[in-house]
């Protein structure tokens, strides 16, 4: 990472620009531009310049059964999330409800993705910030066993996805109504030893990350997450806005609005005009009552308490969810009974359907309008990172004053570390973040 200094001819005299051309260890391309005048922050713009790919537009005119394969390609890190929001929304239109062992299998597939995505972020993307390394690979030179542990946890998640979906990136088996193939009991049993190992490793992970040196920082957050009467949310639940409201998914668009800003290829999202936070931190806070006692116990032992309000604690929340997903996977495997059919027949009809599921990075909303032939007429997708974008900007606004006295390079590094707390997935919203701070000399 290189800090660059230079004078921009368009700038006022006595100002300078600090530009970091690439923020690393995030998924996607974007930039941060901060303008400081007379010691006060003027603008904070998180610019997402990942090229737009227009998924919502080219879904129009495709058949309903092509949707899971297409929307998976929005994000290589969380394809299952896209597939799940899509199949639930379309099933709502066709009056299909997936229950029992097929529902369990979807939950298991989703757990696999949480484990893979979270372990990647905790060990390879964010832990290097706390331990002072440029990457997980560099960290491995001094902490080989730690990095190996992280990679092995990640591999356990990938193994679930590969068994159920054929491969871990863009799995192929999810379809409207269920799956194209069901795993045999024995195949699932074969995963158990490794998942049990990973569960123990996840406990160690929580203990390890909870001891990191966290900067003190507690913005006043509105947390948004799904909440379900019986379980920690993955595929379904009502949308809860912390301390304020609780709405069915169908009403999402009445309260949450997307708007466009000139500097970004991702749409900003607000709830009743205010920015909000989605993702692991929001989820554990909203769902503290849904964490199984064994998981809660490991968390409580760290000395931290819920709600977690420091974004840097996101790494702890993410680790707690790795443990949860492993516990849940083992539970689901134990009670698995082979369903009678991989997927029931689908009766196509026209209508509008919406669904929201918990992607690793937060709630992911889909709405589809389908005609009587089963062809998509309209699609709307609201990914987690675009929902967090406004909140990341506000947090930077709060955080930057305390680092303005630092050198350009150090200030930039500090901003990058803040941004990484949210595990932004810019491929979803749209990946590199370029950081630019413009300020008076």
């Amino acid at each position: 990472m290189k800090g660059q200094e230079g004078n921009n001819p368009d700038q006022e005299k006595n100002t300078r620009t600090i530009a970091v051309n690439t923020i690393a260890r995030v998924e996607g391309e974007g930039a941060l531009r901060v303008t400081v005048k007379d010691g006060a922050i003027q603008d904070v713009e998180l610019r997402i310049f990942e090229p737009p790919r227009f998924f919502e537009a080219f879904l129009e005119g495709r058949r309903y059964d092509e949707v899971p394969d297409i929307v998976a390609r929005i994000c290589g890190i969380c394809p299952v999330a896209y597939q799940m929001s899509a199949v639930h929304a379309l099933e709502q239109i066709f009056g299909l409800r997936v229950e029992g062992p097929l529902r369990d299998l979807r939950r298991l597939l989703y757990c696999g993705e949480w484990i893979e995505s979270h372990a990647l972020h905790v060990y390879l993307l964010q832990a290097p910030d706390f331990l002072g390394y440029e990457s997980g690979l560099a960290m491995a030179k001094d902490h080989a066993s730690l990095v190996e542990r992280g990679l092995r946890i990640k591999k356990a998640g990938n193994a679930i996805m590969t068994l159920l979906g054929g491969r871990s990136v863009h799995p192929v088996s999810a379809k409207i109504g269920g799956f194209s193939r069901l795993p045999r009991r024995q195949e699932l049993d074969e995963l158990k030893d490794e998942l049990a190992w990973a569960r123990d490793a996840a406990i160690e992970t929580i203990r390890w990350v909870a001891k990191f040196d966290f900067p003190e920082f507690a913005p006043n957050y509105t947390f948004v997450a799904l909440h379900h009467p019986d379980e920690y949310p993955l595929n379904e639940g009502r949308i809860v806005v912390s301390g304020d409201m609780d709405i069915p998914v169908d009403e999402f668009e009445q309260y949450f609005t997307e708007h466009q800003v000139p500097y970004s290829n991702a749409l900003h999202c607000t709830v009743q005009g205010a920015s909000y936070l989605v993702g692991p931190l929001a989820r554990v806070n909203v769902n503290a009552d849904r964490l199984p006692p064994a998981v809660r116990h490991v968390f409580d032992e760290t000395g931290l308490s819920l709600p977690l309000t420091n974004p840097f604690h996101g790494i702890v929340a993410r680790s707690v969810e790795i443990l949860y997903a492993l516990e849940e996977s083992l539970r689901l495997i134990d009670r698995y009974e082979l369903p009678s059919v991989p997927s029931p027949p689908v009766t196509v009809k026209a209508g509008v359907g919406m669904a929201c599921t918990e992607a690793p990075r937060g709630i992911l909303y889909h709405r589809y309008q389908v005609d009587s032939e089963g062809v998509i007429r309209k699609a709307k997708i609201v990914p987690p990172t675009s929902q967090n974008q406004g909140r990341i900007e506000e947090d930077l606004r709060l955080f930057i004053p305390r680092i303005l006295d630092r050198s350009n390079e150090e200030a930039s590094l500090a901003c990058e570390r803040v941004i990484r707390c949210y595990d932004p997935c810019i491929s979803c919203a749209t990946h590199f973040l370029k950081l630019e701070i413009q300020r008076d000399l």
């Binding site: 790919r53 297409i70 890190i77 690979l137 990679l151 192929v172 379809k175 194209s180």
Partner: protein, 281 residues
């Protein structure tokens, strides 16, 4: 191929570890994730190669030249059309990874539509959005030394290519059709048994025949094969397959178009077949 080998050989003789650069264009990051999914092999790879530029994985960004540049994603903006030129200038061997970089990817579906209309569909203020009218493969802009197909790439195939390059061995990847691999695995043919419109007969092997193994039809994410005559450069017999989809699997012409216009829809032979059936709609 031979000048590329010479360059690898030069790279191999150098005392320093070969420098690897990983570059992203318009994509979902799934192929880069496939590198990170090498798990324990990833740590070994980091010892054998100098991972000099891989922003998704590391804050260390060493300037070129690079012995091997892996390029993910397609070119969809004017800025990226410039950037790929500079990647090419810095790369001894440039290898595309995945369907986007190799054929334009799913986002090449825009090539059949009005991009201004797309922008208006997705964005309230389309004037802020800078985007080219097409999504094009890397080979449409610069010379590409090697191509790895797949959406995503197969990590085993990637590892094999890298080790072959490092060993100075000629890289050979099969361009057989998926059917051959599917038969070897003993799968029941989903087209024969279930009349599913499987793209396997015209699709390049490499994924491990995942879709038929999972009880469904292949959807062509490894792109077209080189054809029945191995290595001949003849296109696959898409016409025969399309007729079969229409006549035996019951697909109406618009559905035949959808089959060919998917993840690898911009690859030449798939594009031609899709366009042909588009005329019949």
């Amino acid at each position: 191929m031979s000048d590329q080998l010479v360059r690898c050989e030069e790279a191999r003789r150098k005392p320093a570890r070969p420098k690897l650069g990983v570059f992203k264009f318009a994509s979902c990051d799934g192929c880069q994730l496939s590198i990170l999914n090498l798990e324990e092999d990833l740590l070994l790879l980091g010892q054998v190669l100098d991972i000099a530029y891989f922003p998704e994985a590391s804050s260390r960004m060493v300037a070129g030249p690079y012995d091997l540049a892996l390029v993910e994603g397609s070119v969809t903006t004017a800025e990226d059309a410039q950037r790929i030129q500079s990647v090419r200038e810095q790369a001894k061997v440039l290898m595309t990874i995945g369907a986007c970089a190799t054929a334009g990817g799913i986002q090449a579906l825009r090539n059949w539509t009005d991009v201004e209309l797309l922008k208006r569909t997705v964005y309230p203020s389309p004037q802020y959005i800078q985007s080219l009218y097409t999504s094009t493969p890397i080979s449409g802009h610069v010379k590409v030394d090697m191509e790895l197909w797949g959406c995503p790439i197969d990590k085993g195939q990637l590892l094999r290519v890298i080790t072959d390059l490092l060993a100075g061995v000629q890289v050979r990847l099969s361009s057989d059709s998926l059917c051959l691999d599917c038969k070897r695995r003993g799968n029941v043919c989903v087209m024969v048994a279930k009349a599913l419109p499987c793209m396997g007969p015209v699709t390049r092997t490499g994924c491990g025949a995942i879709c038929p193994s999972m009880g469904r039809d292949c959807y062509g994410c490894f792109g077209p094969t080189d054809g029945a005559l191995k290595g001949s450069g003849y296109p696959p017999n898409t016409a025969s397959l399309a007729n079969h989809f229409h006549g035996e699997c019951g697909l109406i012409p618009v559905d035949v178009v959808r089959k060919f216009r998917g993840i690898s829809g911009n690859a030449e032979s798939f594009k031609r077949e899709g366009d042909k059936w588009d005329m019949k709609k």
